[in-house]
């Protein structure tokens, strides 16, 4: 299993036997399988979060909606946001990063395969833990930002305990995978793959890893303080006894604002891969895109208080944060121009991944511009907590992040599963989502400026809010139809999709040099990199006027003769999953102290067993 000998037959046949068993998925340490696990889990939660959103829209379709109670509505909007941010967009970025980071770097796996598996199981534990709360007393209902003292009010129900513990565990999972990705980038690149030759998607993963690494601990401290305030009587956010609820806002947004770049940068990376491929031009100002990503990474830590302009920070702080907020639009704007420069004069191929990328640019610009309006403090004081803000962040998160992710799904699906998603259905999918998205969220600008507040479960008749609310609800149904078409497309492709071959798009980066799906060891020989977009340079050269000329297949440099002699792949291990299960049991126990302490003990034993077993077993079994 672990060691391939030179006599081993072709990669495709070594992967075949024994695939598909559940035990194999539980014990896998293969970055590609872990990526697929992340992908399917986040699609599942995407549907869950989408249903929650539909409940919200149906409730608000007409004045005095009757579908949800106020209590149920609070749970819906809290869990909708929590699910979409932590259980969908972050893990699906992690799915792409897991699958494609090693492939793009020319490596056989991530630096720490078992830590990688542990991150996934921890994510799943946190995600299930958050979601089961619906069945035991209701989901979290204090908003996804969990403002104190709303989140620290002690009631008989334990909803916000589920929320604070669940997010802490998801945070630990993200920190673990960030450490992993950073180490992978710094130590696992193929020979010749300098940092600046690294594909832009890999760069963005590298940057968000730092963002997560440095922002998550701050919210972790806040979440611990919320949990302790609720359970052992600390006074961190208790204003009556000298605590300061604004501290929570700072700790949350010190994480929360870097977090929005964590959500958008992977999508920007995907778009930076897709546009050059289908415009048949290199990315315009490639190093500018990378450096503006780095700039966003640094500046992302200096703008958090623009979420708190109505908290009474005083004019100096407000002016400072207004300025930094305007400044951070600059590197973001640079990227927009780079993408426009990439498609300018290119021979565009308007297939589904390209359409989603172009849609991304269009919608993200709208969301970005409405974002800049928030930097003006007096205007923001009016917009704060209104539907205008909801419109803004759905343009950047749905129009931005989700469209980028869908572009990535259509682009990379053939690499992961070996089959192309259907183009015609894909275009229907795109247009339904594009129209539905604008129908849903554009009216919210108007609603917000007309004074409709967020997080209210009802509005009265005759306030001038009826028409646009109805339009938004119709839009959300169109959007849901678009998602259904996407799911159908995926299901249909698994059954009878067109076989893709290793390089269906005539693409530019290393992941397309290997078979689709790639063999377990990724590359028969570790590639040696000579250029940016190295694969393109293997296929094309340029004439005197700089036009691309294809190199005939028989003249291309011969890369390898047979696989490397000694390929070590990490052995499967059940210890990471066991440790994750232990954490899940511990979490459940922590909510129900004192009786739950038994569960905490049992879970703790499982966790420690997993950790010790993991450190004592060799990475590659049979090696020692």
């Amino acid at each position: 299993m672990a060691t391939l000998t030179p006599q081993a037959p072709s990669p495709a046949s070594t992967a075949a036997p024994g695939r598909g068993g559940i035990w194999e998925w539980i014990t896998t340490t293969d970055h590609k399988k872990i990526g697929i696990l992340y992908g399917f889990s986040s699609i599942l939660f995407f549907v869950v979060g989408g249903v929650e959103a539909l409940f919200i829209r149906l409730q608000l379709a007409v004045p005095n909606g009757e579908i949800l109670s106020a209590d149920a509505y609070n749970q819906m909007f809290t869990m909708h946001a929590t699910t979409m941010v932590f259980l969908v967009v972050m893990p699906i970025a992690s799915a792409f990063a897991n699958y494609f980071l090693p492939l793009q770097l020319g490596a056989r796996d991530v630096a720490f395969p078992r830590l990688n598996a542990f991150s996934y199981w921890l994510y799943l534990a946190g995600a299930l833990f958050l979601t089961v709360s619906f069945f035991v007393g209701g989901g979290a209902d204090g908003g996804w930002f969990g403002y104190a003292p709303l989140s620290t009010q002690v009631t008989e129900v334990v909803r916000m305990d589920y929320w604070s513990l669940g997010l802490q565990v998801l945070g630990v999972a993200s920190i673990a995978s960030s450490v992993n990705f950073i180490t992978t980038v710094l130590t696992m690149r193929a020979p010749g793959m300098t940092l600046m030759r690294m594909p832009v998607f890999s760069w963005m993963v590298f940057i968000i890893s730092f963002l997560l690494l440095f922002s998550l601990p701050m919210v972790t401290v806040g979440l611990i303080q919320v949990f302790l305030d609720r359970n052992i009587g600390t006074l961190f956010f208790d204003a009556a006894n000298g605590g300061d609820p604004v501290l929570w806002q700072h700790l949350f947004w010190l994480f929360g604002h870097p977090e929005v770049y964590v959500l958008i940068l992977p999508a920007m990376g995907i778009v930076s891969e897709v546009l050059p491929t289908f415009a048949r031009k290199p990315l315009f100002g490639r190093s500018f895109v990378i450096f503006s990503g780095i700039a966003i990474g640094f500046m992302g830590f200096g703008v958090w208080a623009h979420h708190m302009f109505t908290s009474g920070l005083g004019p100096v702080a407000e002016a400072a944060f207004a300025l930094t907020t305007m400044f951070i639009a600059v590197p973001t704007g640079v990227k927009i121009f780079n993408w426009l420069g990439t498609i300018w004069g290119g021979s565009l191929e308007l297939n589904t991944p390209m359409l989603f990328s172009l849609g991304f640019i269009f919608l993200f610009v709208i969301g970005g511009l409405s974002g800049v309006t928030h930097s003006i403090v007096p205007a923001d004081s009016q917009q704060h907590d209104s539907y205008y803000v909801v419109a803004h962040f759905h343009y950047v998160l749905f129009g931005g992040a989700i469209f980028g992710i869908f572009s990535g799904i259509y682009y990379w699906f053939p690499k992961v599963f070996g089959k192309l998603l259907n183009e015609r259905i894909g275009k229907v999918n795109f247009w339904l989502m594009f129209i539905g998205m604008n129908l849903t969220f554009a009216p919210m600008h108007v609603l917000g400026l007309n004074g409709m507040p967020r997080r209210t479960y009802r509005y009265a008749e005759g306030l001038g809010l009826d028409v646009w609310n109805l339009v938004a609800t119709i839009g959300s149904l169109v959007l849901a139809l678009g998602i259904a078409v996407f799911l159908y497309n995926g299901w249909r492709t698994f059954r009878k999709g067109e076989v893709a071959g290793p390089d269906p798009w005539d693409a530019r980066t290393l992941e397309w040099t290997t078979s689709s799906p790639p063999p377990e060891h990724n590359f028969d020989r570790i590639p040696v990199v000579h250029h940016e977009d190295d694969f393109w340079h293997q296929k094309y050269t340029t004439d005197e006027e700089g036009r691309a000329v294809a190199i005939p297949a028989d003249l291309r440099p011969v890369v390898a003769e047979g696989p490397d002699e000694d390929i070590h792949l990490p052995s499967p291990s059940y210890h990471p999953a066991l440790a994750g299960l232990g954490i899940f049991v511990m979490l459940l126990g922590l909510v129900y102290v004192p009786w739950g302490l038994i569960a905490v003990g049992v879970g703790g034993i499982g966790f420690l067993w997993g950790m010790f077993g993991w450190s004592l077993e060799p990475l590659v079994r049979g090696d020692h």
Binding site: L195, L228, L616
Partner: protein, 200 residues
């Protein structure tokens, strides 16, 4: 950075200098921990004078006592260095001695903290007396938790040294434990200065 990391990638199989990668990962993790303690210390600074009806820092801290336990924790960094040194020389017997000595000093520090906490509770400072109390116990408690995890890692490493299971590419090695231990000590220097010395 590129020059440093690229040449050793030439080996086949994608598993290169594993212990270097682990060290890098530990540094990244410790970078994250800096922000964790940074947030806890910031919380404490915000609340250090909000004592309500409870005792204030100046009334309750016993600086000579805490100085001694701080000194003991700092000495454990010295024994850790000696342990690391004998690990590099592959002198396993000495390594075990120094690792266990480090763990022992860590445990003395923890015992001192337990004693101190108990004293404070008797004098009327608990987590729910005042925001000062909450911030103090949670900050120093978190540090104590880190020391306890370090002690566990030291013991496990020393025991693995006895049974011959300690390998250079294993999950945990003396180099990594050392990094972690020194970090925890450095954090204590900051806490001792900011929490104890500034308060009196």
């Amino acid at each position: 950075m590129t020059a440093m990391t690229t040449p050793d990638l030439a080996g086949p199989g994608g598993h290169h200098d594993v212990s270097e990668a682990r060290k890098l990962a530990m540094w990244a993790f410790l970078g994250s921990e800096v922000l964790l303690f940074g947030s806890l210390i910031t919380t404490f600074l915000l609340y250090r004078t909000r004592v309500g009806d409870g005792p204030s820092a100046a009334e309750i801290f016993d600086i000579p006592f805490t100085s001694i336990s701080s000194f003991i924790l700092l000495m454990s960094s010295l024994t850790m260095v000696l342990g690391h040194h004998s690990w590099e020389r592959k002198d396993w017997r000495q390594m075990r001695v120094w690792l266990l000595a480090t763990a022992g000093l860590g445990m003395i520090f923890l015992a001192g903290q337990v004693f101190e906490f108990t004293e404070f509770v008797h004098e009327g400072l608990t987590v729910s007396t005042s925001p000062f109390g909450s911030a103090f116990f949670v900050l120093t408690g978190f540090h104590g938790l880190h020391v306890a995890v370090g002690v566990m890692m030291l013991m496990a490493t020393a025991i693995m040294g006895f049974t011959g299971k300690l390998r250079e590419d294993g999950g945990m090695n003396v180099g990594l434990v050392g990094l972690y231990w020194h970090f925890v000590d450095v954090v204590w220097i900051v806490i001792f200065t900011v929490v104890y010395l500034l308060a009196v």
